[in-house]
């Protein structure tokens, strides 16, 4: 997709919708759409211009202008750059028409925007909080909301230096009141009403009872939050007809810490180690996405060697993630820990490489703006070379023989948890979940970032959309990652790994940027708004684990309850990223 086509499209859209205006602010892009034209505009964009993949929906609080803004990022699943459009509403009474009925993928994201930003979405099918709990007071991402033990708007806090009056964290006694309850709220009495809200959606649906079959009562079962199969603290409210799932709703937020608010308090550099903690299996690719977004704003580029090292680390982390995903999926299927530990043997070697390079096995904190933190230490390059050339292909083949044709796995996974290509796109699923449904959409190929346009690799794609295909697709992707790694090792240049002098106070010009990478779990996007100050004005994470849960209900419907566990395992979520 060339730039001219984009310009043409934009003028055509302007003719079709005279009400819309280009975003004139310095450093901003896209269109500002009036709220009443939003659905019309979005549907036209999808049906006539091909922007069928509504990737990210988020809010920004522009308090000085007394406005709230909802930002939509739409993409074409055939590839190419994105299309940004925004809706601005009044801060006092923010009401935006919901896109969830046209784009079900927006459902969870709009709920998140309501929860954290307080933007009300009209005609939303399930309008309630998602990450914080029902009794939560206020909307934390509003700029005038302050957390308990609030110290200052932005770091670095002035008390640390040169005064140094140390306050120990335990002096802020955890047994003191650190939660603000709404007025007249009694946590002991909350149970009833709060639970009703959770069950509302699954109970609300009207299910016709078959005349011919034996009539059974439908029951509602909670899977989780404390359930070993949920990969963390995650809850699924399931409505059952016998053993068949009639409806399912994910309930999350048990690990919520408002990563985005923390990110707004931090300086740009401080956010890098915090992104490690999102999806703790893939800290390298989390760093990558965030660094790309800020580099877009700063207009810098890393030197060649750093680009190669970045790709090398990102692909290694993809291998780590897929090995762990396959292992845990097998765990969920009942193959208790043997396949997982075989997979972990290789993971361990990659983590050793990460440890030598970055100093930490999982919380790598390795990427920097316009570069990486340090060059590869002596011997690591050879270690990677030996590992990629001699060991990994053999071990992946072994895993393949071990699992792929196993009859138990095949019967438990083939034809289970089917997600059609159409559903996958409308539900904004990304990564392996999308590609296993037959949509060959990979950000590395569709909208190349870094130096991915230089490498030869195939976008792995499978067409049945069931658990088995998601498993096979991950094996395929590991093989493609090995291909990329071989080329990286072949072409790795010498040279500096950091553009200019490393700085702890970076100057980021005002503007917005959306950096996205193909993370191992799906499209990982960072939406960063800067106003020229040391701290970002808005910092939003488009978390693939979170958005890939949107189609969970669709995937589980009409399958047995025992399959729910394996379907969830095949999506491959990490709760650190889901709940943020």
């Amino acid at each position: 997709m060339s730039e001219e086509v984009l310009v043409e499209e934009k003028t055509e859209l302007e003719e079709r919708f005279p009400e819309i205006a280009r975003d004139q602010r310095n450093g901003y892009e896209g269109f500002i759409v009036p709220a009443d034209k939003l659905i019309d505009f979005a549907v036209t964009l999808r049906d006539e211009f091909g922007y069928d993949f509504l990737s990210s929906v988020t809010g920004v609080d522009y308090m000085p202008e007394d406005k709230l803004e909802v930002v939509y990022h739409a993409y074409q699943t055939t590839g190419g750059p994105g299309f940004v459009y925004k809706v601005q509403v009044d801060r006092e009474n923010p009401v935006v028409p919901s896109l969830s009925n046209e784009f079900p993928g927006a459902e969870l994201q709009e709920r998140e925007a309501w929860d954290l930003m307080g933007i009300r979405f009209e005609n939303h099918p399930n309008h309630k909080r998602v990450l914080t709990w029902e009794g939560f007071e206020g909307h934390p991402l509003r700029k005038d909301w302050q957390e308990p033990f609030f110290e200052e708007e932005g770091k670095p806090f002035k008390s640390r230096w040169p005064g140094g009056e140390v306050i120990r964290i335990e002096d802020n006694n955890p047994f003191r009141k650190n939660v603000d309850y709404p007025q007249g709220f009694d946590p002991g009495k909350w149970q009833e009403a709060g639970q009703a809200v959770v069950y509302e959606n699954v109970v609300r649906l009207d299910h016709p009872v078959s005349e011919t079959a034996i009539s059974t009562d439908q029951i509602v079962v909670n899977l989780g939050p404390q359930h070993p199969s949920t990969h963390g603290v995650f809850r699924m409210v399931v409505r059952l007809e016998g053993e068949t799932v009639v409806d399912l709703e994910p309930v999350m937020g048990y690990l919520h810490r408002n990563h985005e608010k923390i990110g707004e308090r931090n300086t740009f550099l401080m956010n890098i180690p915090f992104t490690d903690r999102l999806d703790y299996f893939n800290s390298m690719s989390n760093n990558f996405g965030y660094v790309l977004a800020v580099e877009k704003l700063m207009g810098t580029k890393p030197p060649e060697r750093a680009e190669y090292i970045r790709v090398m680390m990102a692909e290694l982390t993809r291998i780590v993630n897929h090995l762990a995903a396959i292992g845990f999926l097998l765990n969920d299927l009942g193959a208790f820990f043997t396949p997982l530990l075989y997979a972990f043997e290789e993971r361990e070697m990659i983590l050793d490489i990460f440890e030598a390079v970055s100093g930490s096995r999982m919380m790598c904190n390795y990427y920097r703006f316009a570069g990486v933190a340090r060059d590869l230490p002596e011997g690591v390059f050879d270690q990677v070379k030996r590992f990629v050339h001699d060991r990994l292909p053999r071990k992946i083949d072994e895993l393949d023989t071990f699992l792929t044709n196993n009859e138990i796995i095949r019967t438990r996974t083939i034809g289970i948890g089917v997600l059609t290509a159409e559903d996958a796109i409308t539900h904004s699923a990304a990564g392996p979940v999308l590609r296993a449904s037959g949509v060959p959409y990979d950000v590395r190929r569709a909208d190349p970032y870094g130096i991915y346009d230089r490498f030869e690799f195939d976008v792995a794609v499978r067409y049945h959309g069931d658990i088995y295909d998601r498993y096979l697709l991950r094996l395929d992707e590991i093989r493609q990652s090995i291909r990329i790694l071989e080329q990286v090792i072949r072409d790795m240049p010498e040279g500096p790994v950091q553009e200019g002098k490393p700085q702890y106070q970076v100057r980021v010009p005002a503007g917005e940027a959306y950096g996205r990478v193909e993370g191992p779990k799906g499209e990982l996007g960072f939406y960063v708004v800067s106003n020229g100050k040391p701290n970002p004005w808005r910092y939003h994470v488009r978390a693939p684990s979170f958005i890939n849960l949107t189609p969970l209900g669709v995937m589980c419907k009409n399958y047995k309850i025992a399959d729910v566990v394996s379907i969830l395992g095949s999506i491959d979520i990490v709760l650190g990223e889901t709940d943020r």
């Binding site: 140094g164 401080m270 180690p273 270690q383």
Partner: protein
Amino acid sequence: MTDMYGKGMLKGLGVTFRHFMNTYLEDIRWLARGKRRYYTEEGIENRKSTDASGIFTVQYPEEKLPVPEEFRFIPFLIYEVNEEGEKQDRCTSCGICAKVCPPQCIWIERTNNPETGRPIPEPAEFYIDVDICMNCGLCAEFCPFDAIKEEQHNGKAVASVISASCKGCGMCNPVCPSDAIDLIGYTNDEIEGMIESMILNA
């Protein structure tokens, strides 16, 4: 159906059987070569190398993995001993580590010379709250004087534990390569005091 049903499962069992046998075969191979595979540096090196096969676990705590040079743990200040035998911090209390620290766990008190009114290039107090530290290594990375470290430098640098900031978490104990740090736990009085304060506040 051309394939025999259960063939895939048998193949898979073959893989586990091979893994199982390898654990013994590898040990026997080492025995035959007259080398020790466990509790030796060579053995650990082999088990974490790319030609590892068989058992690849490490018998912690008898065996410990070598820690790479970049490895990060709790930050500490570095001091030098001058000719008179006095300990001198390399830190000049410039405050960069306190400014760059993401969870803001470093507190530095800088003092001025009472006569000249100029800042003294030495911290009056330096606290690192280890409870909050996220081991990101940014403080060490951006320190212009190499005065704060999260890594060991082949014994060149001496780690000094700042007792005021130590919380007794015990992180430093297992990671210390030379077993130099021994942790003294809380005294009974301290523990009782903590419990009492919890009860009083609850």
